[in-house]
């Protein structure tokens, strides 16, 4: 949501662009393109980056009134239990079994979403339709339609499917596959259409049939972006699968929830530590693959530096296998970035906030032999994965056809629309938006703030990384339940839980991109005797601010969608009402609430797209 950035800043950004359009023109070389990204003088870049943390002031102000005194003993017990997880073979065994199911759901859901996304991306690509029949409208129509599945959180999909087809393994998988597939379709569709059409046209002119031409002209350039984005989606899928479990769809999440509800903290930590190991392994493995295949970074926060910091060059060259590149914007050989002469295409895709910045990405072309090797390895990986997925699916008793056995929904006839209208809609929507805003402010603002705090102490970094990993790991409803031991239920509690989870995600991205970006100005400041915090703040954050905030805008959009999952701490707007309606089996209300949610997230998505476009617009 754009509202994450204070309105003042937004208008400033806007006016700044209006005023400096001319100034931007002089940045002709790609390197200079970066330097022409102008930040308005009113609010300086690094300050804008930590400004969202201002929300801490009201939150901290409200907190003393929210702490209900009791529960500190329980919290202490919880923290102690972290060091003494239960090692009872029964507990460990059931945690491992649960973890297996969660990982299975994640992998299968991810694989299904990949296939679905790829198919839908092709079907919603303007280039593909033009190539086949010269029409654009089917692509546009499909794009519009895809907005709906995308705007509904996977948890809602899960709960709705559960009602319709009953409890089965395929429900959790489909719950992940549907919204993820629609998201992937959008991202990929945009990428396909942003590719230069020259090669395709050339092939078509020489008489190549449409499918072959599309495959040859669009396939290779698309692959790195597809895989990089796919890797990111897999990480998301693991988090989603855990979350679905918390709501009873099977796997480790279910066990975690039951352990927490019965306050069995030692058993809870057994599951959490195991999950942490798997999550970190997955993240490390994906990062390794990304490096090996020279794929674009998840998030190219901060473009390559334009300078020539020779003093650091020795160290930097050895470590980085690719500087921060545009995220999923395809990079690599033969992969022209979107036509730079065109002012667009603006990054409309929600997950590639920097695709606009991609113009300045200096894709380091792999050597030709590496290129072939990469292709072979990718195919190999896919081949290895097929039996694994089949084995998993059979092991978990997944029957995709089971999804077709629909159960009739009860008492749909007796929908009382009066009672639906009687819901306090303005308050529900307002609370939901406020919740998102506070959570987003906390997550976006705190990540750089914490980095600043620990800047002088190298030993604090691993601790912060661990804390962030745990934050990513914990499904927000679990954090919310834990917070309830200390705090009264309500908006702030829900926002803290949601913000904490997203802080883990944002923090990791910020740290990664901060490490990847070269910031000669930071070295210069340090050379002039400036302390490590101020040097980081002025020297490095200045360059990162734009892309970080752009990603923050995307994340806020995600948080709006996610706000449903913290509904169980009460007073949390639509989410709480939704869970309440679900537990009362009030279908009419449920339908209306899901509709309003979808509408809100679509508006939020649009706003966050606009914010990102403004933040990342080249020149």
């Amino acid at each position: 949501m754009a509202s994450l950035i204070p309105a003042v800043i937004r208008t400033k950004i806007h006016s700044a662009w209006a005023g400096w359009g001319a100034a931007g023109g002089q940045g002709a070389s790609p390197d200079r393109a970066q330097t022409t990204l102008i930040w308005p003088t009113g609010i300086a870049a690094p300050l804008a980056m930590v400004a969202p943390a201002l929300v801490l002031i009201p939150v901290l102000g409200l907190l003393p009134g929210l702490v209900h005194g009791g529960g500190f003993d329980l919290l202490a017990e919880f923290v102690q239990a972290a060091f003494t997880p239960s090692l009872d073979p029964l507990v460990v065994g059931s945690a491992i079994k649960g973890l297996g199911i969660t990982v299975g759901i994640a992998l299968l859901g991810w694989a299904a979403s990949g296939l679905l996304g790829l198919a839908l991306a092709l079907a919603s690509s303007r280039q593909v339709w033009v190539t086949y029949c010269g029409q654009v409208w089917p692509a546009n129509l499909l794009r519009r339609l895809l907005a709906l599945p995308r705007s509904i959180h996977e948890l809602l999909w899960g709960l709705l499917l559960l009602q319709v087809v009953g409890l089965q393994a395929a429900v959790a998988i489909a719950a992940i596959a549907i919204p993820y597939g629609a998201l992937i379709a959008r991202v990929l569709g945009d990428q396909i259409d942003a590719l230069p059409s020259g090669a395709l046209a050339a092939l078509r002119c020489s008489g190549v049939a449409a499918p072959q031409a599309l495959l040859t002209a669009l396939g290779p350039p698309l692959l790195p972006g597809l895989l990089s984005y796919g890797g990111y989606r897999l990480e998301c899928a693991l988090r989603s699968a855990t979350l679905l479990g918390v709501f009873g769809l099977g796997g480790l999440g279910t066990e975690l929830k039951l352990c927490l509800q019965s306050l069995q903290f030692h058993e809870l930590w057994t599951g959490l530590w195991l999950l942490l190991v798997v999550m970190l392994l997955l993240e490390t493995a994906l990062a390794g693959l990304r490096r090996r295949w020279l794929m674009p970074r998840r998030l190219g926060l901060g473009g390559p530096s334009s300078g020539n910091p020779r003093l650091e060059a020795g160290a930097a060259q050895g470590s980085g296998s690719g500087r921060a590149l545009a995220p999923w914007a395809p990079a690599g050989p033969g992969l022209a970035s979107p036509n730079p002469a065109r002012p667009g295409p603006l990054p409309t895709n929600p997950l590639a906030p920097e695709s606009g910045a991609g113009h300045r990405g200096q894709g380091r072309a792999p050597r030709p032999d590496k290129l072939g090797r990469r292709g072979r390895e990718m195919v190999l990986a896919l081949v290895v994965m097929v039996p694994l997925l089949v084995w998993l699916a059979r092991g978990m008793g997944v029957h995709p056809l089971g999804l077709l056995h629909w159960q009739p929904l009860p008492n749909l006839g007796g929908a009382s629309w009066a009672s639906v209208l009687a819901l306090p809609w303005p308050q529900l929507v307002g609370t939901t938006l406020l919740l998102t805003l506070v959570a987003a402010g906390l997550a976006v603002g705190l990540a750089p703030l914490l980095l600043l705090v620990i800047a002088p102490w190298p030993w604090a970094r691993p601790l912060l990384q661990l804390a962030w990993a745990l934050a990513r790991l914990w499904p927000p409803p679990l954090s919310a339940l834990l917070l309830l031991l200390l705090l009264k239920p309500g908006l702030v509690t829900a926002a803290l839980a949601l913000g904490f989870h997203n802080l883990g995600i944002l923090g990791r991205l910020l740290l990664e991109s901060s490490d990847d970006s070269q910031a000669p100005a930071e070295g210069a400041l340090q050379g002039a005797g400036v302390g490590p915090r101020l040097a980081l703040f002025y020297g490095r954050f200045s360059g990162l601010a734009r892309s970080y905030l752009a990603y923050g805008a995307y994340r806020a959009d995600v948080m709006l969608r996610e706000s449903v999952v913290v509904g169980l701490v009460g007073a949390a707007g639509l989410g709480t009402q939704l869970l309440e309606s679900l537990s009362s089996f009030a279908w009419d209300q449920l339908l209306a609430l899901v509709g309003v949610y979808a509408l809100l997230t679509l508006v939020g998505e649009d706003l966050s797209d606009r914010a990102r476009r403004r933040l990342l617009a080249p020149t």
């Binding site: 400096w20 690094p46 003093l311 200045s542």
Partner: protein, 272 residues
């Protein structure tokens, strides 16, 4: 200006045994920095006193950048000792930063903060002295406008540039802003790493003059230079080859033979 103490320090033989009235501004003795194959700096000793203008010459890869990095404290030598105004680098981070605040570096890539305005960039030179409150205020409000205007005037820029973002400036303006930032830092020791490398000859000459003009009796300049033809304004030149000091003598005594020995057939042209 006052070149008197410079000539006294300008002994051909490196080392601090030369007679002097005051502590050298910068003193390196037996500095060694290991590198791949051969050391980047090999037992380098030199001293620079207040008011001196010293040029650092040598082919690319001779160790000029390393030497400057050691001099401003970014690079820690493997052996040898370094003294700023007579004192070795402090152990505590805070005291060391206070020492580094006395040293100003002009980077070849300028290292301006692109996202900030000229005024904010100029003020960033004062960050070492400022605490967080002022550092934050600087991002919100124009601070020290008078001082910044003076600094810009000294490099022949108008005050109207103050609220421009740095990224909107031309190449020459950026160079001058970087020098103005140094002036705002008001250092005792000015280091410059090939500041003229990528400039056209006219601009290079102007800029060099600007830098040379900044030297006062209480400020010294050490500048690495790729073009021996620009040596005229310097008091002394140090020739560096393969990480070792080849010569260290007043510029007027440097002849073609010295340069021939220094570059050894390599073109003394640009190319970091």
């Amino acid at each position: 200006m006052s070149a008197a103490p410079a000539s006294e320090l300008g002994q051909p033989s490196p080392g601090p045994e030369a007679p002097r009235q005051e502590l050298p501004w910068l003193e390196l003795s037996q500095i060694t920095v290991p590198g791949r194959g051969r050391p980047r700096l090999d037992r380098v000793s030199l001293a620079i006193g207040g008011g001196e203008r010293v040029a650092l010459l040598g082919p690319s890869g001779a160790g000029k950048s390393s030497l400057l990095a050691v001099a401003n404290g970014l690079l820690r030598p493997a052996s040898g000792s370094l003294r700023w105004l007579g004192t070795p680098p402090a152990r505590s981070g805070r005291a060391r930063r206070r020492q580094q605040a006395r040293i100003g570096t002009l980077w070849q890539d300028l290292r301006l903060i692109e996202e900030l305005s000229v005024q904010q960039n100029l003020n960033s030179a004062r960050l070492a002295a400022w605490g967080w409150p002022r550092a934050l205020l600087n991002l919100l409000w124009p601070l020290d406008t008078a001082a910044n205007r003076d600094a810009l005037a000294q490099v022949d820029l108008g005050a109207e540039l103050l609220d421009q973002p740095v990224s909107a400036l031309s190449g020459g303006q950026r160079q001058r802003v970087a020098i103005a930032r140094l002036l705002r830092q008001d250092p005792d020791l000015l280091l410059a790493d090939e500041p003229l490398a990528s400039l056209d000859p006219r601009l290079a000459a102007e800029l060099l003059q600007l830098l040379l003009n900044q030297v006062t009796p209480r400020r010294a300049l050490l500048l690495s230079l790729h073009r021996p033809d620009l040596l005229a304004g310097f008091d002394r030149a140090i020739g560096l080859r393969h990480g070792q000091v080849l010569f260290d003598q007043p510029t007027r005594t440097i002849g073609p033979a010295d340069l021939e020995a220094l570059y050894g057939g390599e073109q003394p042209d640009s190319g970091p």
